[in-house]
Symmetry: C5
Subunit: 91 residues, 5 copies
């Protein structure tokens, strides 16, 4: 999964029926080790994430394993809110 | 999903039978946060998108979840037309 | 899907049984908007493409949706021959 | 699969139910030949990997083939601990 | 599929049960047109490839279509040994 930072909201009135009711958010990918921000994309939120939060995002077909979106055209889903990341020096 | 800008049309007379009747469009990927244009690819349109519109594109196997293309060799589908994107400063 | 230019042929005598009889071609990815050539890979041809032709390539699991290769280890398939691409200035 | 180095831990209290009980680790991708470190991501550990270990990571839908996570939104799984990598000069 | 050059071997004693008995090799991706070497990864060998050979590699879910690894966490499989690649000037 990738680490992301929620940076905004997206609205689309005209869309595939199976996307109705899903919350779409702008997420900037963050490197899990260096914390560097990378490209941004759109993810469906399944855990009530808010702007500015650091989240766990499942991508590809795995994004559809989250509850209630099994048959939706979704390739990125916010599946967790990250409380803490601990990078070790003991490497 | 990724944000795209519809930039053109594509015609292919000789093609897989299951692609018949599908509208193929050229889409340039746009970074959802910086708005920078990235690489361009071909997507099937399922929502009546027009040239110049900003759209939501599902990729990979998720592209086949859109209605009526479950068994087509399609890896990118326009599944929504974006009305508004709001990037927050509250980060 | 991606736009490709067919640039060569590949022969492999020793291979998975399910690849037998499939035509393998070298394809260079072309950016659909800028026309710039990108990385090259191997695709199975399902539409009778020839060297130098511009083609439509399905990738990932979608590549296996093309007829007769449902259970083959194929991740890129030529599914159409592009007749014309029209990039619009009206953006 | 890719080679990775385990560099940290991640905690997420609020998450998809199907992720409960899974151990999430920060993994830095390592080039299998040059040993160069690349981008970092989050993987589910299925083999008891520790910080600093070099591991084998399955990605995409293949990450869900590991035991007990078939229906979880997981796109990267640590499926082995690498004992030794031997790069040959005989090329 | 991608073209690769087999550059080494990998050993992992502790691993997912379904990986037992599979031969893991280090493969460097090679651009099919320019012959340039790219990133390296780990692939399962299904055709008896040796160090230094140029091979055809299936990636993603397609890697699991090869015989006997349908339910293994494998995302890259060597599915053929390339005898010859012919790049055409007639473009």
């Amino acid at each position: 999964m990738i680490v992301g930072k929620v940076t905004g909201n997206v609205w689309a009135t005209r869309k595939e029926d199976s996307l109705s009711g899903l919350k779409l958010m702008i997420v900037s990918r963050v490197d899990a080790f260096t914390n560097e921000e990378k490209e941004s994309f759109i993810a469906v939120d399944q855990v009530g994430a808010g702007i500015g939060e650091t989240v766990l995002v499942a991508t590809g077909s795995s994004a559809r394993m989250a509850s209630s979106i099994k048959d939706s055209p979704v390739d990125a889903t916010i599946v967790g809110i990250i409380d803490e990341m601990e990078v070790s020096d003991n490497q």
